[in-house]
Amino acid sequence: MSDRLQKWDSRLLVTRALAVLGVLLLLVAPLYLEEFWLRLGFTACGAAIGALGLNILTGAAGQLSLAHAFFLAVGAVTYSWLAGDPDPAIGPTGLGWPPVVAMAMAIVVTAAVGLLVSPISSRLSGLYLGIASLALVFIGQHLLATLSGITGGFQGRSAPTFSVFGFEFSNQSELLVLGVPFGRYERLWYLGLLLLAVSAWAGRNLLKSRHGRAFRMIRDKELAAAVSGISVRRGKQNAFVVSSALAGLSGALFAIAIGSIAPVSFSLDVSIQYLVMIVIGGMGTVTGSILGAAVVTALPILTQRYGGVFPLVGDVVSPAAAARYLYGGALIAVLMLQPRGLAAVAGLVRRRAPSNSASEARPIAGGRAPVDPPTDTDALERKAPIT
């Protein structure tokens, strides 16, 4: 027993130490990495926030959604339009709002749009929603092409650089840190990490709370959830709105990473990529969202850059196709072999503490063995609901 406890403790210690080390490495990375990696890192952070959103909706609450690209688009457009140059040389005008405010609004507006469609979405069960949500992607594409004053139409529009209180996330002002010039992507790296850390923390809080429990209960046993006092519609609506809000932030970050937005960036294919992220990473977990987003974001970029190392890639299959084969295959393999995803494989999902052996030895009646009838019934008083 104590052996096991110790072993457990030391494991926990190792995990903690590794985590601290990982965070330190991430923090000093811009001193050593070239722009290519920093850019990839920022993109992955943005994607991870979006994946977290989808994972709350699909992984935790069991509502399959293919509409995620639509919500990313709403966030990206909101940011680009609100913060955009009111008087640009070319392209559609913007409102010239401070980028921070525009980013906050991207979250708020996307959440509001999520709330707007929730009368439909929260009445549908998981699979129905999966198919019905296709509608939003296609209608979204149509709107992106049509509302060209805001979205820039087919060509899209540029997305303004981010800045906070005059500090620009661009190459404009010189900034040296320990002799290393800190340009656009060095700065964005930290922005991405910070926003991801905050989102992950909030996401974990949510999943551990009464709402997270309600989501899972709705996913696993919808009727039992309702009979236990959970409003199923309300729960689905909550999941949908939170998911949209995170997609809004993710969309804004995407616009910042690329510097422009266009309808092709928000096609059905993108929705599917996000689904792949949460499945490969691990459904219903924060860690899984991050791992999955990292893998799926990096794959096509890495096959593009290093694909030539492998036979076939380049001549027989294009790097982009190679990436699709890889993640399509991974998607199926994960679902068939390890439905809990990378997070479980990596052992990062914290195992539950081993139960103590005393209780295991008890008969089924547990602490209430018939020989020891409870006489202290008054120990369990009726209590008014805690408020």
Partner: protein
């Protein structure tokens, strides 16, 4: 009026293709409990078989090869990927079909490359005029074949051992298993039938007025999904009606797009999805679904 009638006829023909696809989608849903997102790839497989063999074999035999090939592919997909998931819940299994679709689509787009492929339909781009209403021969034959297939299918569904077992299984899988239905075989048959229906639809959908086969055919299946949902997802008749409604709506919206310009260029393409949202808003369970209470 003539314009309206020809658009209506074109819409019915298009809708009958959607109906074939949607009915396949619905029976798979009933048999395997999944939304088959790889349905678009089934269409592509069918048309690709014809495109690659009609030069050497001639159109008729090429169609035969395609029917067999699509049926075999559908069976294999079911056998390799869906059957092993039968103890899993619907959502993971549905995501598996998305994985199948990713793989098939990248494979097929690789095979097809850029550009269009001929399927070599003997009627090519001919049109006929009935009264004053014109339609391409392709669409007309398509409508007739689809009508025959649908009637045949409905009879099969109602009368055959497959249809009866299938409906029993969809209603209560446990009870069906208890009375000894070979669920595995029923499911496999279902996928094969869905594959055949998809293949037929693909052959007519790539003919005139469509210029030929390209990976864009895949999107057509996506339009058939709303048809299935509008009909209630569990109802074969619903899928039929849903397919026709969507086909006609799309045809009319495309035909009158000058009048609909305020809704944006190319509004016809999104019409099926707008119809879907409207139906879901009014009747979330679809037009034809009788949802019974679940047992607790």
């Amino acid at each position: 009026m003539i314009k309206f009638l020809s658009l209506l006829l074109a819409g019915l023909s298009l809708g009958s293709m959607y109906a074939l696809v949607a009915m396949g989608f619905v029976i798979i849903y009933k048999a395997s409990g999944v939304a088959n997102f790889a349905h678009g790839s089934l269409l592509l497989i069918g048309a690709t078989f014809v495109a690659f063999t009609h030069d050497t074999l001639g159109f008729g035999p090429a169609v035969l090869v395609a029917l067999l090939g699509t049926a075999a592919s559908a069976f294999l997909l079911q056998f390799l990927f869906i059957r092993p998931m039968r103890t899993a819940s619907p959502i993971p299994t549905t995501i598996v079909t998305i994985g199948m679709d990713i793989l098939l689509l990248v494979l097929l787009t690789g095979l097809l490359g850029e550009g269009l492929h001929e399927l070599g339909q003997p009627w090519a781009g001919d049109t006929v005029v009935i009264g004053d209403v014109g339609i391409t021969v392709n669409r007309l034959i398509g409508l007739i074949v689809a009508a025959l297939l649908i009637v045949g299918f409905l009879v099969l569904f109602k009368r055959s051992a497959w249809g009866i077992s299938m409906r029993a299984a969809a209603e209560d899988p446990e009870a069906a298993a208890l009375v000894g239905l070979r669920l595995g075989r029923v499911t496999a048959t279902t996928w094969i039938i869905a594959g055949v229906l998809a293949c037929v639809a693909a052959i007519f959908l790539t003919g005139a007025p469509t210029p030929g086969l390209s990976p864009a055919l895949w999107t057509v299946a996506l339009v058939a999904f709303p048809a299935a949902i509008i009909g209630g997802l569990t109802s074969v008749h619903g899928a039929l009606v849903g397919g026709l409604v969507i086909g006609v709506a799309e045809s009319l919206a495309t035909g009158y797009q000058q009048q609909l310009l305020f809704l944006g260029r190319g509004f016809g393409i999104v019409v099926p999805f707008v119809v879907l949202l409207v139906v879901l808003l009014v009747r979330p369970e679809g037009l034809f679904s009788a949802r019974g209470g679940r047992r607790v």
